[in-house]
């Protein structure tokens, strides 16, 4: 019930604004902010009530929806979606506050779009029914279409159309995949009853993966992103980078990996190079961008490359790092777009050459910008490092793919420093231009917008345990699912070799390493058992819910 409230509270806000828009702009903004904050506060209940000792879905609600179609309103969260839900509910009020003075026309429409978007995004992260998932997935596009198309910059129509068509191309494939799964699942869309192996799993994997890869965006499907970002209003960019991109990586970890582990293993040699190219390519292209927003957009391509790399590492550390990095990227890149937006409101330019020496005039802005930049660079002590480190370590140790990819990806860490620091130097350092002399430093509202983000940036960097411990079990389940499929082809060989190596290590009595590869220690029996047990509990829970629904 709580989860449904969280998902649909913003939609209530949309209705409220629609009814009360006559009261004026400030009333509309007030309603939006209150709803946004309320949603966040309610969503904290999901955190406090979350049981980190299990990988099963929690806060589950299942109601018959269109029984004839085999679809139901089935929602729930695990340790992975919990954080994405919280990230969404956290960033939405931040965006509302950031858009406070920057939207001049149609503020009620803007706020309605933003809140409708929030419901769509939350629905995507919580849906446990493929049909429901698809409905939310598609419904999200509409408010985003308005946000960029109406409140965007000069080339907004081109950017919007490109964004929508790119996404639709992927969605169409995914829809086919969903239908194929439906037919193989006794005509049910329920995610929790799905269990492989599926027929045509390679094609199905690709259908889902391409849809998600576009969203991520994985090289070479990324060219919609810079355009969409440059044209979108600040709030749109923040949501786009902060949450929408995570739908792609979320989709991979929720569908591609657990449902089609064989296919995932088969395609790893193809996907990992793309991720690594994305890391380096995104960084290099970001380096030479003259437009701040484009620079940040390309940096997202690089950062998300890390996330995809970690997801395909098959390792607990790598996948956990990827999930954490989704949150980190949402925070730091969201913050970067907010900061760029703040400077744009003052100077009406995003061109790096128009700035220089701002640190002198805007010390608070410069300080916050510095912290966010360092977070993005992955400086230890701030959030970005924890995620990147876990991804790279997991990828290196597990050996799901060649270590050379990890080496190249690690080189991306150097390039991140290059493009971010060069940008920072050109914007903040040097002599102040005459035209920029009158720029005011951040005001109280803007500081309030930034402070909570900074708090999380430092918190995750210094003490990530509260975050990691909630993710751990759910990732563990995904890891068992990807690692334990019947040994076939290349993936199987790798697993065998890792078993041998670990056995030899076990004799050495190194407990930490033993636990590094927990499942392959006693080859199949152990892990299959775990998997079956986990699936079993899911089924049991599922049946229980069904019974409850019947009694109601």
């Amino acid at each position: 019930m709580l989860l449904s409230i969280v998902i649909f509270l913003p939609l209530l806000g949309v209705i409220a604004i629609a009814l009360l828009r006559g009261l004026g702009a400030s009333a509309v903004k007030g309603i939006a902010l209150v709803i946004g904050l309320l949603t966040f506060i309610v969503s904290l209940g999901l955190y406090t009530g979350f049981d980190a000792t299990t990988a099963t879905f929690q806060n589950v609600t299942q109601q018959a929806w269109i029984p004839g179609l085999g679809t139901s309103y089935h929602i729930g969260i695990d340790g992975i979606s919990l954080w994405l839900v919280l990230l969404t509910t956290f960033l939405t009020p931040v965006c509302i506050l950031a858009a406070w003075n920057s939207i001049e026309k149609g503020i009620s429409g803007f706020m309605m779009s933003l809140l409708a978007l929030e419901t769509g995004m939350l629905g995507v992260f919580c849906a446990l029914d493929l049909f429901l998932f698809f409905v939310f997935w598609e419904s999200m596009l509409i408010p985003m279409y308005f946000l960029i198309g109406i409140w965007g910059g000069e080339r907004r129509i081109y950017a919007t159309v490109k964004f929508v068509l790119y996404t639709m191309a992927g969605s169409a494939l995914m829809l086919v995949g969903i239908l194929a799964l439906y037919l193989q699942n006794n005509n049910s869309f329920d995610l929790t009853t799905l269990s492989g192996p599926f027929e045509h799993s390679h094609l199905l994997f690709l259908a889902f993966f391409i849809a998600f890869a576009i969203k991520v965006p994985l090289f070479p499907f990324h060219t919609w992103l810079p355009d969409a970002h440059v044209e979108a209003p600040t709030a749109g960019s923040v949501i786009l980078a902060g949450v929408l991109l995570k739908m792609g990586t979320y989709g991979i970890i929720r569908f591609c990996l657990p449902l089609f582990p064989d296919a995932a293993a088969e395609f790893t040699p193809l996907i990992v190079p793309l991720a690594v190219i994305g890391i380096i390519y995104g960084a290099l292209v970001a380096m030479v961008q003259p437009d701040l927003k484009k620079l940040v957009a390309y940096s997202s391509v690089s950062h998300l490359g890390f996330v995809v790399l970690g997801l395909f590492s098959k390792s607990p550390a790598g996948i956990q790092g990827s999930v954490l990095q989704m949150i980190n990227h949402g925070l730091s890149t969201g913050a970067l777009f907010l900061l760029v937006g703040m400077i744009y409101e003052r100077r009406h330019s995003r061109m790096i050459v128009d700035f220089g020496g701002l640190a002198k005039r805007m010390p608070i802005f410069a300080t916050i910008f510095m912290v966010v930049t360092l977070s993005s660079i992955g400086l230890p002590g701030l959030n970005g490092f924890v995620g990147e480190y876990m991804i790279l370590l997991g990828s290196f140790v597990q050996g799901a793919f060649s270590k050379i990819y990890v080496v190249i990806a690690t080189a991306g860490v150097i390039l991140a420093a290059v493009y971010m620091l060069w940008m920072f130097q050109r914007v903040m350092f040097g002599t102040l231009d005459k035209t920029n002399e009158a720029l005011p430093d951040l005001n109280a509202r803007e500081i309030v917008v930034m402070l909570p983000i900074l708090l999380f940036i430092v918190w995750i960097g210094v003490y990530p345990k509260p975050f990691l411990s909630k993710i751990e079990k759910s990732v563990g389940l995904v890891v068992t699912q990807v690692q334990t499929e019947p040994a076939m082809g290349r993936a199987g060989e790798q697993e065998n070799s890792s078993q041998q190596s670990v056995v030899s290590n076990q004799q050495n009595g190194d407990t930490l390493l033993k636990s590094l590869l927990p499942d392959s220690r006693q080859p199949m029996a152990d892990s299959q058992y775990t998997e079956l047990a986990l699936r079993g509990t899911q089924r049991v829970q599922h049946e229980k819910i069904e019974k409850e629904a019947e009694t109601k």
Binding site: L165, L284, V288, G381, Y389, F396, A411, V413, L421, S515
Partner: protein, 633 residues
């Protein structure tokens, strides 16, 4: 020793950073502009750490076991555990004393040196943050903690080099330092991954115990540790400015001079030496010390040759630092870990001292750095002159001063490893004495070439600056004798024995003979400098091709720029962005769009809305179908 002591030791500078940082951002003029407040908060914070360090040292010296405890779990999961934990053993406590001792004096000195600077508060905030990061680096009980401090000091170095951020050269230098260091960090990270893959942990004691027992996963077969140690060494090369990554350090002189003394001479740049000394067990097993020694001795020689022809006093000191760091690597490379660290300690004092005296000269001469416009400063600045002379004699290996002891130990051990390395080291010792006394003679002796308007203001620095100089001069002169008397039986070797494994190469030969040779070589360098620069200035020097090559620092920066920086920049701009991204990928995307629009546009013409056309096409269709049925079926 208790965890509380370590936490206080560590957190005091962090508190100083936060307080000064907030003061710096505050809009209250009374708080923001209050130099006394910021300066003393900053210095006091480090004093607290110094006192804690002394307590820790005393406890170890009194025979206490090394301290090793975890504060809290940092990045943990079912299969991995990285903790925030500290280790204080002999090596750490030596580093702690150097960092907080030299650090405290430099903080005090900065109170006077930075007087009147607009960013006074910000300066002390950064300086305290640096001390905090440096303390993490040496206090960590695992490689990841070391890496945290490692990156942290890199950040502070970046911030402080670019402290005067309105100067393009300063921010360029800061950025360069950070990026070049990141190249090193790339190696460090991969080294850590390799170690973790092999040992399943990054804790020092677990790794070293397992390595000694040969009880670890051979992820790269027999060369696992070779790869791991060489990768770690890449990190050290970056941080400690060795070939080929030394290029950032000379540029780093753009920062305030006390920063050069603290970060770019005494502490941060020695982190690489500390890392290898800390990993002594691994380097011994992997036998990769030889690589370290060669890189070290070549860097020592190479940097010394550049220092011969420079005229900017801070640059000379910078190349000298690169060169001396080379000596330290030579020491730890040939397995003389204690000697390498011993040189780190003596160098921290005498090089810190020399940078501060250089700062004193700059302070008096309106930031002039070119010694061709100096000369005869001895009369106007006696304390500065004498303290500098102490530092220069120490580095030149003048008998019984600090550098003499530590450098001699290193050279002696080098002889046991390879006579060629020893010979290069000895030549470098000669060059060192020469360029250092070239600097002394040109700057402090001879006729004054100071511009008249500067000359009228020429003065000795205020007590807040010269007192730290005088205090630093004492250990610069004597610490070698105190700690190093007795060579391999000295107090220093005895104290650090528990940390380092036995060396491969037992130092051989007559100790006294080596000392005599070193002394003669050092004195010869001084004498040669005296003969050349007693009455001549560098501007009167003959120029030839070699001289030009040296003045231009072998054109290394230019080569890097042409071979690495520009191709990456242009390749990214034209090839990747313009051609691949905008041209090919977007070309395909927009191309698909155009094709669909074209097809749509063409098909659209069929739907004209005219009934006649529809009827005609319908009739035509029927006729065709009929024809098909009639004639083909």
């Amino acid at each position: 020793m208790t965890i509380e002591l370590i936490v206080v030791l560590l957190v005091a500078p962090l508190v100083g950073f936060l307080v000064n940082g907030l003061l710096g951002l505050s809009k209250n003029k009374g708080l923001k502009g209050n130099e006394q407040l910021s300066g003393w908060i900053g210095s006091l914070a480090v004093l607290v750490s110094l006192v804690c360090s002394i307590i820790a040292f005393a406890s170890l010296h009194g025979g206490a076991a090394p301290f090793d405890e975890t504060l809290y779990e940092w990045i943990t999961g079912e299969s991995f555990a990285f903790n925030i934990g500290f280790r204080v053993d002999a090596l750490t406590s030596v580093m702690l004393l150097v960092i907080t001792g030299v650090g405290f004096l430099i903080h005090v000195y900065s109170i006077g040196y930075m007087h009147g600077d607009e960013g006074y508060t910000r300066y002390f905030a950064y300086l305290n943050l640096f001390i905090f990061a440096m303390l993490i680096l040496v206090l960590g009980n695992n490689y990841l903690m070391m890496f945290v401090g490692w990156e942290g000091v890199g950040l502070c170095s970046y911030l402080l080099i670019g402290f005067w951020y309105e100067k393009q050269t300063a921010t360029d230098a800061g950025k360069k330092a950070f990026i070049v260091n990141r190249i090193g960090d790339f190696g460090f990270l991969l080294g850590m991954f390799t170690l973790f893959a092999a040992f399943g942990t990054l804790d020092f004691t677990s790794i070293f115990d397992a390595a000694e027992a040969d009880n670890f996963q051979k992820v790269f077969g027999a060369s696992t540790l070779v790869i791991a140690t060489l990768l770690l060494f890449v990190g050290a090369i970056g941080k400690s400015a060795q070939i080929p990554l030394y290029v950032w350090l000379p540029d780093a002189m753009e920062g305030p001079t006390p920063v050069s003394a603290l970060i770019h001479a005494a502490t941060m740049v020695t982190a690489g030496v500390y890392m290898i000394a800390r990993s002594a067990v691994l380097y011994n097993i992997a036998h990769t010390g030889e690589v370290v020694a060669w890189i070290g001795v070549l860097t020592a020689f190479f940097a010394a040759t550049i220092a011969l022809t420079q005229n900017d006093i801070k640059r000379i000191l910078a190349y000298s630092t690169v060169s001396q760091l080379g000596y330290m690597f030579l020491g730890v490379g040939v397995g003389a870990y204690a000697s390498g660290v011993f040189h780190l300690v003596t160098h921290a004092f005498f090089k810190g001292l020399m940078f501060l005296t250089a700062g004193s000269v700059m302070h008096a001469m309106a930031n002039e750095l070119d010694m061709r416009r100096m000369g005869g400063l001895k009369a106007k600045m006696p304390i500065t002159h004498w303290t500098f002379l102490v530092g220069a004699l120490a580095i030149a290996g003048f008998p019984f001063l600090s550098g003499f002891w530590s450098k001699d130990e290193i050279l002696h051990s080098a002889w046991g490893s390879s006579p060629i390395i020893y010979a290069i080291g000895l030549v470098t010792a000669f060059l060192t004495a020469f360029y250092m006394f070239r600097l002394i003679f040109v700057t402090f002796y001879g006729e004054s070439r100071v511009e008249p308007e500067v000359d009228s203001h020429l003065h000795e620095s205020p007590p807040v600056m010269w007192v730290p100089l005088a205090i630093l001069a004492i250990p610069s002169a004597l610490i070698g004798l105190l700690l190093g008397w007795g060579g391999h039986e000295s107090w220093f070797h005895h104290f650090t024995k528990s940390v380092f494994p036995e060396a491969h190469h037992e130092a051989s030969g007559n100790v006294i003979l080596f000392m005599v040779i070193s002394s003669v070589v050092g004195l010869a360098g001084i004498a040669f400098a005296w003969s050349r620069y007693r009455e001549r200035t560098p501007s009167e020097e003959p120029t030839n091709a070699l001289h030009k090559l040296l003045v231009n620092k072998y054109y290394v920066d230019e080569v890097y720029n042409a071979l690495i920086v520009q191709p990456i920049k242009n390749g990214s701009h034209y090839l990747l962005w313009r051609i691949v991204d905008n041209g090919i990928i977007d070309g395909i995307v927009n191309g698909i769009g155009s094709i669909i629009r074209f097809i749509g546009g063409t098909l659209r013409r069929l739907q004209t809305g005219l009934v006649q056309v529809y009827i005609v096409s319908m009739v035509l269709g029927i006729v065709l179908f009929l024809a098909y049925y009639l004639f083909f079926l």
